[in-house]
């Protein structure tokens, strides 16, 4: 039988409500009584039920982390373990636990978020994505529940704290690198169009082309999930065109891996026949042959900064809203080549 508050109360010769007050460290209880009650708790091996205590102090000491799709799908992309690693490191330092979403579709994730919020299961939430018209983000705003976004909120809501890279600039720079190598037929392979990061990187790509007076070809723009299989499919599509591209700006390393696999199967050589640039600088981007020229977005640091911003807000309600822009760096490797004139 589990030891209850009543058992402790009996042993310490106080009312059960006094035991509860000792557990929540109520200042109205004398130190002598606290000492007696705690001694009784220890002797009986009683551990205060944290749920009960949470009701009193209203803190779960946990952070909810919401992934853009099911854990099963998201965790295929090393971006998510790496950002979790950063969040976990900050959570450890500040003694927070992590509550990770498993939800498959938007409805399931939304239900999970509601359970987290209304159930006081977490003190705050980190959204690991930013989507257009996201019902989850709208809900968190309406409930005034503390949250931080990894990525840039779609509406430029001034009251949302977020941590992001300057994805427009990064994409512009890496596209300019391809243009400087003589490429004109440059394709763009991005994530799904509801993700702000996809649209930002598309923006930067278009800005670079426009600045160089290269017309934008809609057939060269493909959107799909940030998965290896999407890279394979895109290559099939692009190289079935009468005039295929000579370079591809890929918005994700895992996609690039699929792109390179499929190119190899089709006998198209990289970088001899087609140059590839990528995003994220996952460790796999050094392992591919050729190694990938990619944008290092500092994923681990994105995790650290997002957890830091959330915890600062949890500790102080008056903490100002922040926009944290983590710097990027292009890693020049071997997947691009000057075009033969």
């Amino acid at each position: 039988m589990a030891v209850t508050i009543k058992d402790v109360a009996k042993k310490a010769n106080v009312a059960p409500s006094t035991v509860s007050r000792v557990i929540s460290d109520n200042p109205r209880i004398s130190d002598a009584t606290k000492k007696r009650v705690r001694k009784a708790m220890k002797e009986l091996g009683y551990h205060p039920n944290v749920n009960a205590r949470n009701l009193a102090i209203r803190s779960s000491q946990a952070i909810g982390v919401i992934m853009p799709s099911s854990a099963e799908t998201s965790l295929q992309n090393p971006f998510f373990p790496e950002v979790l690693r950063g969040i976990g490191s900050m959570a450890l330092e500040t003694e927070y636990s992590l509550y990770v979403s498993t939800g498959g579709d938007e409805t399931q994730s939304f239900e999970e978020v509601k359970r987290m919020v209304f159930g006081n299961r977490v003190d705050g939430i980190i959204l690991l994505y930013s989507r257009r018209d996201d019902p989850i983000m709208n809900f968190l705003i309406k409930e005034e529940f503390p949250f931080v976004v990894v990525g840039k909120p779609y509406k430029k809501e001034s009251q949302i704290t977020y941590v992001d890279n300057d994805n427009i600039l990064a994409s512009k720079k890496i596209t300019e690198h391809l243009i400087s190598l003589g490429h004109k037929r440059i394709a763009y392979l991005g994530g799904t169009t509801d993700l702000v990061v996809t649209m930002d990187r598309l923006d930067g790509y278009k800005q670079a082309l426009e600045a160089a007076n290269i017309p934008i070809n809609d057939k060269f723009i493909i959107h799909d999930e940030f998965l290896r299989s999407s890279g394979r499919k895109a290559v099939e599509k692009l190289f079935a065109l009468n005039e295929p591209p000579t370079a591809i700006v890929v918005a994700d390393d895992l996609m690039s891996l699929g792109v390179m696999n499929m190119l190899e199967e089709l006998g198209i050589e990289c970088p001899e026949d087609v140059s590839i640039t990528s995003f994220n600088n996952l460790y796999l981007s050094e392992l591919t042959r050729p190694s990938l020229t990619t944008v290092d977005i500092q994923i681990y640091n994105l995790g650290i900064q997002s957890a830091k911003a959330l915890i600062e807000r949890l500790k102080s309600k008056t903490e100002p809203v922040k926009r944290v822009i983590v710097p990027f760096e292009i890693k020049y490797r071997n997947s691009t080549k000057k075009i033969d004139q």
Copy 2:
């Protein structure tokens, strides 16, 4: 202001305790009353506090997942996201949430586990490792708290449900493969010696050598963390020997990656100068040059099976204790070569 049980009680014209009973679906409340209270809850936008409800029904609908070291360190090895992916998929299907440990050292993890258990934060726990004399495992046994181990418990406790591969056999088979290629100077690079998986794989390696009458050389056996950096350090040590090995049985793909990097830096060629076999079949094992001959331990499936076993146990206290052995398969690739006589 948040809507409280008292507001609902007032609106529905019942006692607050009746509202609580409706929330916990107490059969002693009439259907008519339930209907009236639920209508009032809906109209007022009241969401029952899940903590309060948990106190009643004693279920958190969450699973605790404990990693062997801090999230920061563990998540560097793709084994953990992959096993989490399997657990997440089963959790989603059965509507459980995941509570992931962040703890750095054993003391921190133990504190987290105690918070999970005494706080009713989780219904059951999955340990993603098996260690000799693990205080956490001993604690869970003592508390009779439902848990499942990914790996083989050290003491052959008959009451522990676990999911594992036959690591002794897998290691014996892959060492025999090297022996069949003519290798005699075969080194073993494993994880830390407190991990059961390390000792099992060492056992299989020794069994294969003994069966082939090859003496065991202690200088050829190295233990370190399952990290890339450990692979690098081990190569430095092994190739400083007067008679370095011609083959290495590495117990982890990420370690193998470090091994290959360092070999390349030292100008030692794989597989020409040294053959390497590995464990886990992470997707990176196909990307290395040469690609790695490695044991596919079906990590995702280990995750699925562990969550399945735990949830079966949570649903039925009389569920029998199980030992689930996930089959392995050796993937023969290009990192081994017949030795020149």
